[in-house]
């Protein structure tokens, strides 16, 4: 087995603020009863260029979603007027979206996502964190710890 893994490239975190990013890749993670999709978002412009953040969204149990779930919001940000079935890998990856990164405790997290070119001045109340009424809201959204 080849142990030479080559040089390791360390990417910095996306800082707090608004950034244009590309959905680079995702990983599926099982966490107790929940399945997460951890999307790697990479900055495209200015100071955020090549910086990254992981945006974890829970996968709905019944594989159906709407714009009130985190995954639905991501889909709406990446695809104009979404409708019907989407294959995450083929439809979401390499799409450009806007994100707002905020600091929460010791972590940086993606607070909001919206389509590139759309107005972001009015904060969408849907994106407010709440803790009842929806199944996926009980799952914590994680990102890379800030170093």
């Amino acid at each position: 087995m080849d142990n030479d893994l080559g040089p390791i490239k360390l990417l910095d975190d996306l800082p707090e603020g608004t950034h244009k990013v590309i959905i680079d890749s995702f990983e599926k993670a099982e966490y107790e009863d929940y399945t997460y999709l951890n999307f790697l978002l990479v900055g495209l412009e200015g100071d955020s260029f090549d910086k990254q953040i992981i945006h974890g969204v829970p996968l709905p149990r019944n594989d159906r979603t709407t714009g009130r779930s985190k995954l639905g919001q991501l889909i709406k940000a990446a695809i104009k007027k979404p409708k019907g079935s989407f294959d995450i890998e083929n439809h979401l990856l390499q799409k450009e979206i806007m994100v707002e990164v905020v600091e929460e405790g010791f972590y940086l997290k993606v607070d909001r996502v919206w389509p590139v070119g759309e107005e972001d001045s009015v904060k969408n109340p849907k994106h407010e964190k709440h803790s009842f009424g929806r199944q996926d809201s009980i799952v914590k959204e994680n990102s890379l710890p800030r170093i």
């Binding site: 594989d63 709407t66 009130r68 995450i88 109340p125 407010e128 709440h130 009842f132 009424g133 009980i138």
Partner: protein, 820 residues
């Protein structure tokens, strides 16, 4: 990367974006095109509507509120209130109604502009933070109004003439009150035009309110609740000289009271509909005319229709006004009522309108009223030479903090005082966070907070004794069936825990020993949540797949470094287990399932019992609960994150005792041990033994949350001891009232309790028939055994009845009372 496909439900998405309009469309489909929302001034919801779930009659029972994120919630006050749940979020409501998203979405899209116009402005919009406060403080559920009231009032209003209105004005009533008032002369002819059903209801109504049966004439004044629903009526007899009546024999004689409230209307007040949640100051008066006079002064006023009752005080306090001004009459009776009213509020929150001697607000002209000062209760008491007792004001902490120099072995169950837990750190913050979210009592929240902390700290904190004492706990929340919100209170804490320690909450309700092995094998620190302890005990004894669970949980309680148990098919083995159990149960189910084997096996003794004996009061009700306070939630999550960081930094904390703390514990230990010297102690002994260890565990958790070093202070030990005294009281209560060795024991206890209550009311002997009527389950089959057992134990005195053969055996003619 894996291939994942999701379906984006664009129809539901559209409906979710237009939730209010979608609900309106549903209502129009169900009740007709004219159907709509009624805007309210209430601070806990935005609209009233007919319930979309059941067939609502004319009186709308639906209440619509919105979460902070805009999610619509519908609560039904009517037929659905017995349904579980009776509050639905938007998606749940669609599911409950079985709505076709496509069809509804299509209709809403077609009518969107018209629907938008039909939706009234939301008065709570943008006031979410206030909304939380309001709902927290004013969650009174207005009782269902009697359907007869509305037609009865209309009947009375139709009989009002201009002359009568003029007379009312002369009597001091103002326009608004006059416009709503009615008149009844007591003539049966007035009722003839009404349908038979109505007449039948009306006669019943008159029978319930006897004053209406006399041949007097009355003014009828309606009272509305804050959401402007007719709530009750005041009936005021007309005396000679007030109004000129056609038939002079209709005047009330002087023996009659000046006014009557309807039956069951202690909490009713006049003018509630004029009060919003944003008032700075609210005046309270005795009479309607007085309130009218204060309103003319430009102030907000409510009439309590006599003195202030506790129920009324609760409603008034719920408005959240900065100041309550008592403007009761300045006569002896009024001063007595003022003194009582002061006692219902906090001193800093209340003022008294200093009226001239012998006057009430309506006696004064506007200019005179303006010159009256609003003074503090103590100043009012000084001026009127009235003493306000030390505990006159509602200051729970002061009352709770009064220390008894010789503390009893245990305190009364039910009342959890604030000296039973730290006043800083996670616990008080958690109580503040959880209280508004449910109707549950503090003890339930405290138990949940302790379980959260216990599982969060895990093996990271311990007291260094011969063998380490860890902070793991088995906790049970027990209350009366339904409504005490046992499971809800647990869920609040577990939601926080799931955010930070999701891997520690994988076991719930039913699980096999193998499931336990798998969970503890993967993560040795595990919280076991049991929704219904009674049901769990039933399953453990009846289901084979769960056999052996109790033994395992008993062994795990001591947190051994290695657990190993050989079973028929597989050996269970795992290392460093740290279990915490949190469960809830109603008294009855628990008592039914707790058989003697389980009690003696020590499983139940490992639990600490957080019980609530009091039933909910009106002022405790929270029909629509606010969204959680995000700021408090974040603080709590941060505190849990801090605990988590101990894990990440592999940091252990070894605790010791301060000298005085050790002395306090030794005193408590001695006092508790010495109290177990009688027959009764055989039952509660194992519970008290575990409680003595639990003191250390609580002290450990309390000290750790305070972050004041690794020495347990005397203050912390006092808090833990106080908590355990309260828990000891709970154990006593459970054994006295709920856990019985046999059915006979249980019935003996019930019978004696009922007999004592009857004897307190009437000091006499009671027949067996009278006793049987008051004890559920006591029947001809068991009553002889029960009576004889009570007689054998010397717990009742008897008076022999007939000596005829055949009578003595079943104690016919015998009479009983509790033994002296």
């Amino acid at each position: 990367m894996t291939n994942i496909t999701v379906l984006f439900d664009s129809e539901l998405d559209y409906l979710e974006d237009h939730q209010t309009e979608a609900l309106l469309q549903i209502l129009k489909d169900k009740y007709g095109a004219e159907e709509g929302f009624i805007k309210t001034g209430d601070q806990s919801f935005d609209y009233i509507c007919r319930c979309p779930v059941h067939e609502d009659k004319k009186n709308p029972n639906g209440r619509v509120a919105f979460s902070k994120d805009g999610t619509l919630r519908l609560y039904c006050n009517g037929a659905c209130s017995s349904e579980e749940p009776s509050t639905w979020f938007f998606d749940q409501l669609l599911e409950r109604l079985g709505v076709d998203h496509y069809l509804l979405g299509k209709k809403v899209k077609q009518n969107i502009e018209a629907l938008k116009k039909d939706v009234p402005a939301r008065h709570l919009l943008g006031q979410e933070s206030d909304c939380i406060k309001d709902s927290e403080e004013n969650s009174f559920i207005w009782p269902q109004t009697d359907p007869i009231l509305d037609p009865f009032l209309k009947l009375a209003q139709r009989s009002m003439t201009d002359d009568l209105k003029k007379s009312l004005e002369e009597l001091g009533y103002r326009d608004k009150t006059i416009s709503q008032a009615g008149f009844l002369s007591g003539s049966l002819a007035q009722y003839n035009d009404f349908p038979e059903d109505f007449k039948k209801d009306l006669n019943q109504f008159r029978n319930e309110n006897k004053i209406l049966l006399t041949r007097n004439a009355f003014f009828i004044f309606p009272h509305f609740n804050q959401i402007n629903e007719l709530w009750s009526l005041t009936i005021t007899p007309i005396f000679k000289g007030q109004v000129k009546l056609e038939s002079p024999n209709r005047y009330a004689n002087e023996d009659l009271r000046k006014s009557y409230k309807l039956k069951d209307s202690e909490a009713v007040m006049d003018g509630l509909e004029t009060i919003s949640s944003k008032e700075e100051e609210i005046f309270i008066t005795e009479g309607i005319k007085d309130a009218d006079r204060i309103r003319m002064w430009g102030k907000k006023a409510i009439s309590t229709l006599g003195g202030l009752s506790r129920a009324q005080a609760g409603i008034i306090e719920g408005f959240g006004a900065k100041r309550i001004v008592i403007a009761f009459d300045a006569d002896d009776a009024g001063r007595g009522k003022t003194k009582t009213a002061i006692g219902y509020f906090e001193e800093s929150f209340v003022g008294v309108l200093n009226l001239p001697e012998g006057k009430d607000p309506n006696d004064l002209k506007q200019e005179e009223l303006r010159t009256c000062e609003i003074i503090s209760p103590s100043e009012w008491a000084r001026l009127n030479n009235i003493s306000l007792s030390e505990d006159q004001f509602t200051k729970p902490t002061e009352i709770e903090n009064s220390k008894n120099p010789n503390p009893p072995i245990f305190s009364e169950p039910g009342v959890l005082t604030s000296d039973c837990y730290p006043q800083e750190g996670f616990i008080p913050l958690y109580l503040e966070y959880a209280r508004p979210l449910t109707e549950a009592r503090d003890q339930f929240h405290l138990a949940t907070a302790l379980s959260v902390l216990s599982i969060a700290y895990g093996r990271r904190i311990f007291i260094s004794e011969s063998s380490p004492i860890y902070s793991n706990l088995y906790l049970a929340i027990v209350g009366y069936s339904g409504g005490s919100k046992k499971s809800t209170s647990i869920r609040i804490g577990l939601k926080l825990l799931e955010d930070i320690f999701p891997e520690r909450t994988s076991l719930a309700n039913a699980f096999t020993p193998e499931g336990l092995q798998s969970a503890f094998g993967e993560f040795p620190t595990q919280l076991i949540e049991i929704d219904e302890l009674g049901g769990f005990l039933g399953q453990v004894t009846k289901k084979t797949f769960m056999s052996g669970i109790i033994d395992i949980l008993n062994s795990l309680y001591d947190c051994p470094p290695r657990f190993r148990k050989r079973r028929a098919e597989k050996t269970l083995e795992f290392y460093d287990p740290y279990p915490v159990v949190i469960c809830s149960s109603p008294f009855r189910w628990l008592a039914d399932e707790t058989n003697s084997t389980l009690k003696e096996g020590g499983f139940m003794a490992r639990f600490q019992w957080f019980i609530s004996l009091d039933r909910l009061k009106k002022e405790d009700l929270k029909p629509i609960t606010p969204a959680p306070n995000e700021s408090l939630k974040n603080k709590l999550l941060q505190k849990l994150e801090d605990i988590r960081s101990m894990e990440e930094e592999d940091q252990d904390e070894r605790y010791t005792y301060e000298d005085h703390a050790e002395k306090l514990y030794c005193q408590f230990y001695e006092e508790q041990k010495l109290s177990l010297q009688n027959e009764h102690s055989e039952q509660i002994g194992p519970h008290v033994e575990r409680l003595l260890t639990a003191v250390k565990k609580y002290a450990l958790i309390f000290q750790a949350t305070k972050k004041e070093g690794v020495v347990i202070t005397s203050q912390t030990m006092k808090e833990a001891i106080n908590l355990c005294r309260w828990l000891r009281g709970n154990i006593e209560h459970l054994f006295q009232d709920h856990f019985h060795e046999s059915r006979i024991d249980e019935f003996c206890h019930k019978t004696l309790k009922a007999l004592k209550q009857m004897y307190e009311g009437e000091k006499r002997f009671f027949s067996l028939r009278e006793i049987t009527q008051n004890v559920r389950g006591l029947d001809s089959k068991n009553k002889t055994d029960i009576i004889e057992t009570l007689m054998d134990r010397g717990l009742i005195d008897t008076k022999s009845g007939s000596k005829k053969s055949g009578y003595k055996e079943n104690y016919r003619g015998w009479k009983f009372r509790p033994a002296e």
